[in-house]
């Protein structure tokens, strides 16, 4: 017959429980901080992309009026170029 084990399962002391809770809180706080940082990063990238799209492109817009349907006088002070799709 197998000998009955004398070792008893140890229950964590109050101090250990406190430390564990502290660790858990710390992990949660770090997780939230990381999530916040990722969110800020994503929003930042989005805003940067938007800014780059919106910025002026002075040189690359020159020309390219030929062979297109236009309204208004050629050589006007303001030229509006519209890229549109029918659907």
């Amino acid at each position: 017959m197998a000998k009955k084990s004398r070792s008893r399962e140890r229950t964590p002391s109050m101090r250990q429980q406190r430390q564990e809770a502290e660790r858990r809180r710390g992990r949660r706080r770090r997780g939230m901080l990381l999530g916040g940082l990722v969110l800020v990063l994503v929003v930042g990238i989005g805003l940067t992309v938007r800014y780059v799209q919106q910025r002026n492109l002075p040189i690359r817009l020159q020309g390219a009026v030929d062979n297109h349907y236009t309204l208004g006088p050629p050589g006007a002070a303001v030229v509006v170029k519209e890229f549109s799709d029918y659907t």
Partner: protein, 142 residues
């Protein structure tokens, strides 16, 4: 857009770049450019937007577009032959490439001189940007 243009008649030039996003739009653009061969580009262009619900969901909308051409009293046989020849595709592809070089990714995208405007905007905003550009252009250079 045309409302804003009317307001600045004689001071602003409007240039249209078809920016085709799908095969239905490609056929419609070809048809509009082919209508242009008969001197009716703008009429056809306006009709395509006005009657968008009648054709834009059809996989091959050419027959429906030819009905529009009939309404405009165009030579439909010539228009159909023009569209089927795909001779306007070169122009369409060139505009797509030009748009891509300007980082156009969605429609409508407007450039008022060099000012980029993405998405449909209220007329009042377009008027404001055009006015701003006109003022800038009229300012004497130092």
């Amino acid at each position: 857009m045309e409302g804003a243009l009317k307001r600045f008649e004689g001071k602003v030039q409007f240039v249209l770049y078809p920016f085709v996003l799908n095969s239905r739009s490609e056929v419609a653009t070809e048809a509009a450019l082919c209508a242009g061969e008969q001197g009716r580009f703008w009429d056809f262009h306006r009709l395509l937007f006005r009657r968008q619900a009648q054709w834009s969901h059809i996989v091959n909308p050419l027959d429906r577009l030819l009905e529009f051409a009939t309404d405009l009293h165009l030579d439909t046989a010539a228009l159909a032959s023009c569209v089927k020849s795909d001779r306007m595709l070169k122009l369409i592809k060139a505009d797509l490439a030009y748009g891509a070089s300007l980082q156009v990714q969605s429609t409508p995208t407007l450039f008022v001189n060099n000012e980029r405007i993405i998405g449909a905007r209220p007329e009042v905003e377009l008027v404001r940007v055009i006015q701003q550009e006109l003022t800038r252009a009229q300012r004497p250079t130092p």
